[in-house]
């Protein structure tokens, strides 16, 4: 990775800053403007997609903290999203809890359940942990479907649209600001997390757990903390989905969703906050774009439109396989290379 030359930090503030060069500030400003302008120019379809991206970003950043930064694989993200969604929905519909409070409780609840299912990580890692979280996925999904007394079983829970400061959150346009405001806070928080001792401990455990223990990191405690923080963010994404979609059904929280989130962080870049954002965007836009494409060619190529679910599956699988084979560090790395190319031009290195 090439870095800009001639950058000297002359104060502690400059040394601590997240962005140091002018190019970085300009890019951030451009991104900011794009996010502000987007809801005014996007069509209703793409505005919905944008909101899904925002929610996916929160979940993907959460999962990346666990899998990318701490090195603990989880196949239970789908179920943890469900825990957040169900908790928040049930609190609002049955106990008339204000939405904001319900979301906070849902986040805490998911963190607790996530930590519980993270307990096997104290003894296991790698593939065995994947199995344990896979079991968590199935057990929780079973609870959503069969614990009718609490979750309503196979029936959907209908959640009323919430109000925020007397402003009814009903349209995609209104939700856009809530979702992206939250996503921005989450990204900013996660970016800073890895500049603290806590985040660095996560990295140490990922890189070499025994060495981390030797350096005085309480590996077990930090693994559970990672599960808690990660599940909390995933729960937040789940709770937001519940209120945004105003409907909660078990079908949204299957193993496929867990895999989708893992695909997001792999495509984006394991262990990179920006990568989670790229991955969440890519993996949400891709199926939407394919769907849009199918709609456009419905008359000219009806076969293609009819076989779309199968094609979606193949494309999804191919994206995962090709990224792992050819860009295992994800879009984050691609972006890095693009920047390097221009910075070093006309030289190769």
């Amino acid at each position: 990775m090439a870095t800009a030359t001639g950058v000297y930090h002359t104060s502690y503030e400059a040394d601590l800053a997240l962005r140091t060069t002018r190019a970085e500030w300009i890019r951030l400003a451009l991104l900011f403007v794009a996010v502000i302008v987007a809801p005014f120019v996007l069509s209703p379809f793409w505005l919905t997609v944008a909101n899904q991206i925002g929610i996916a970003i929160i979940g993907a950043v959460g999962l990346n903290i666990l899998t990318g930064h701490t090195g603990l694989i989880s196949l239970g993200t789908g179920a943890f999203l469900g825990v957040g969604a169900y908790t928040s929905a049930i609190l609002v519909t049955r106990f008339d809890v204000p939405t904001l409070v319900a979301i906070i409780i849902a986040v805490a609840m998911t963190a607790a359940i996530g930590t519980f299912f993270g307990l096997p990580s104290l003894r296991l890692k790698g593939l065995y942990l994947a199995m344990a979280t896979l079991a968590a996925q199935f057990i929780l999904l079973f609870a959503f479907r069969n614990w009718e007394f609490v979750t309503g079983g196979l029936d959907a829970i209908v959640v009323p649209s919430p109000e925020l400061f007397g402003w009814a959150l009903q349209t995609d346009f209104a939700w856009y600001w809530v979702i992206f405001g939250t996503a921005a806070l989450v990204v900013f928080g996660a970016r800073n997390l890895f500049r603290t001792g806590l985040g660095r401990a996560f990295h140490a455990i990922r890189d070499q757990d025994i060495a981390a223990a030797v350096m005085g990191i309480d590996v077990g405690r930090y693994k559970l903390l990672s599960f808690a923080i990660s599940s909390a963010l995933v729960g937040l994404a789940g709770a937001l989905t519940a209120h945004y979609r105003t409907i909660v059904t078990w079908e949204r929280f299957t193993l496929d969703v867990s895999v989708l989130y893992l695909a997001m962080i792999i495509v984006g870049g394991l262990g990179s906050v920006a990568g989670s954002v790229y991955g969440a965007t890519f993996m949400t836009v891709l199926p939407a774009a394919i769907q849009q494409f199918a709609r456009n060619v419905r008359d000219t190529l009806p076969v293609l439109a009819r076989e779309m679910p199968a094609i979606q599956l193949v494309v999804f699988g191919l994206v995962i396989v090709l990224f792992l084979l050819f860009e295992p560090r994800g879009l984050d790395r691609t972006w890095q290379r693009v920047k390097d190319f221009f910075r070093l031009w006309p030289f190769r290195y």
Binding site: T67, G71, I73, L119, P120, L122, R123, L124, K125, G126, L127, Y128, A130, M131, A132, L134, A135, A136, F138, I139, F142, R145, N146, D209, I210, A213, V219, G220, L255, V259, L262, A263, I266, L270, E307, P309, A310, I311, Q312, L313, V314, V315, F316, G317, L318, V319, I320, V321, L324, L325, P328
Partner: protein, 290 residues
């Protein structure tokens, strides 16, 4: 008593299929250290190709099985060469995810060619019931048990007696030592995938014969995980015994408890095993602890 015997037979039949599917998984893990999440979809491919061979192309069932074996082995070898080999030495997350990606590709291709409508397998395995000690038992389940047993026995014999089987065990034990004595590790990897595909095709045919040809066949692939963890990831006899245990557990729960609990009970067992005996009943004890 009648229910008990019927449930036992059903459970053992399911267990035999699970053992067969799990065996493919164990062979791959033992030889190459890869956790194959796509195992269930190899069952699916096998079942559909046999179905298409018999129904669409009017082949004799034995020829259709042969074609399915060839197709599955080719898919497995391609996968091993072009997908898994570049990832040798990568971290567990990448390997798991690549096989999951593969599962989606296989599922999509099958769905693209044959659609999602369930079909029934032509009856080349005898159906109907037979009375044993006055208890009516369905014939195809007994056949499933016998077939699976025969294939498991053949594969065990292969591992114990044949040159290639012994080479595979050597590689599983220590790759470098195996190389030193002149075993081609690459060829053993390819052989492992091919064998796994063979056992998956047979498992797929038996599943399809019992439950019809549909996407549901692959569900058996996910039940493989409780089986292999219970039996020990690298143990062939473990896979067989654990297959029987999980199969019986599922049918007994379905028969005596009900309420859909049978769907989740294997995973509860999985968690318990992971907590108390992560290397399973017969697996080699080499869990890393931190």
């Amino acid at each position: 008593m009648e229910t008990f015997i019927q449930l036992t037979v059903t459970g053992l039949a399911n267990g035999a299929i699970l053992a067969l599917a799990a065996l493919g998984f164990v062979i791959i893990f033992k030889a190459t250290g890869v956790i194959n999440f796509a195992q269930g979809y190899f069952l699916l491919v096998g079942a559909y190709v046999v179905w298409a061979g018999i129904v669409d192309f009017g082949m004799h069932w034995s020829l259709a099985i042969l074609v399915a074996l060839v197709v599955a082995v080719l898919v497995a070898l391609t996968t091993e060469r072009f997908v898994l080999r570049p990832l040798v030495g990568e971290n567990v997350i990448s390997v798991i995810m690549v096989t999951i990606g593969l599962a989606f590709i296989l599922q999509g291709i099958v769905q693209f060619i044959w659609g999602t409508e369930p079909r029934s397998m032509p009856a080349f395995i005898p159906r109907g019931t037979v009375a044993v000690l006055g208890v009516p038992l369905s014939l195809n389940r007994i056949w499933a048990m016998l077939l699976a047993g025969a294939i498991l026995a053949a594969l065990t014999l292969f591992f114990q007696r044949s040159r290639h089987g012994i080479a595979m065990r050597a590689v599983a034990d220590d790759q470098q030592a195996a190389m030193v004595v002149g075993i081609s590790v690459r060829r053993v990897f390819a052989l492992a995938w091919a064998l796994a595909a063979v056992s998956a095709v047979f498992a797929g045919i038996i599943v399809a014969n019992l439950f019809g040809v549909s996407g549901e066949v692959a569900v058996f692939g996910l039940l493989v995980f409780p089986v292999v963890i219970l039996g020990g990831l690298d143990s062939v006899p473990g896979a067989m015994i654990a297959g029987a245990i999980i199969g019986l557990l599922i049918t007994f729960t379905a028969g005596y408890v009900g309420g859909g609990l049978q769907q989740v009970i294997p995973y509860v067992v999985l968690v318990l095993i992971l907590l108390f005996r992560p290397y399973g009943l017969f697996g080699e004890v080499r869990i890393e602890r931190v």
